[in-house]
Symmetry: C2
Subunit: 160 residues, 2 copies
């Protein structure tokens, strides 16, 4: 099997976060900040009908991460974990995924909230978030569950 796969940016994600400091670890933890997706004009027709969705799944490329690791430390705690059990950007292929809240679509521009993405990040794909497909019940969250016990929100929800 040919292991190499070539992709290309289909747009750019603009956000208030020029660097990771102060960025929420997941968009859910900051409802205020707004981001803007500039979809390159040649992909604009693909945006038809996305206005009907409240949430989108963004796939993007962690372009400022230089190193890929197999073991990493998540932001919620100091313990090392396998890279496939954490959401660290320092991962093989460096693809990021975020569920964001759609605010508006204007031409080839999408305004969204619940932002956890660095400014000027290359966009790879947009998928509609579909509750009937993407929500699972009876979820076990491995090492994370103890950070959310009894419905509490962990202390470290922003990058330092």
């Amino acid at each position: 099997m040919d292991r190499e796969i070539k992709l290309r940016a289909i747009g750019i994600i603009h956000t208030p976060y020029k660097n990771p400091k102060g960025m929420p670890i997941q968009g859910k933890f900051d409802k205020q900040a707004k981001g803007r997706i500039e979809v390159f004009p040649e992909y604009r027709d693909g945006l038809k009908d996305i206005g009907g969705f409240s949430h989108l799944i963004l796939l993007y490329y962690f372009d400022r991460v230089a190193e890929e690791r197999l073991i990493g430390r998540p932001f919620l705690e100091n313990e090392p974990h396998g890279i496939f059990s954490i959401r660290s950007p320092m991962r093989p292929n460096r693809i990021g995924i975020s569920v964001v809240k759609l605010e508006a679509v204007e031409g080839n521009t999408i305004i969204f909230s619940e932002v956890d993405i660095l400014d000027k990040t290359p966009l790879l794909d947009i998928k509609p978030y579909i509750s009937h497909f993407d929500i699972r019940e009876d979820v076990r969250n491995g090492w994370l569950d103890r950070h959310f016990r009894d419905g509490r929100i962990p202390e470290r929800t922003r990058l330092r």
Copy 2:
């Protein structure tokens, strides 16, 4: 900005589906079928701790899709929609995403259920599905909502 991004397969996803016919449109619609992920040995260490999660998010490459479109027809209905408002594989960059149920981890092999992926699909990434990050409430599902009205399951949940 350099638009080209080079990735590589980090494993292979083995499933009972040699072709799309009969495959569920989303894994949730078939709890029986099992799949097996063969993570290439050089990435094995990254699997540490994933056994604690009930569900995984798989990112993979639709390697047998030849065409990319901006308008497509989803399997649930005959209406055309923008590619970013449907989950069709014929999309720019052809990245697929599936939430699957983790059954077992044995060395560099992962057994999972809730399969909606073709046999021998190249794997790009594995992320833990985390209810605190990935579940949204008050979701509007655009053109799909009418197919799921009053809690019903649509007729077309398998590819034909």
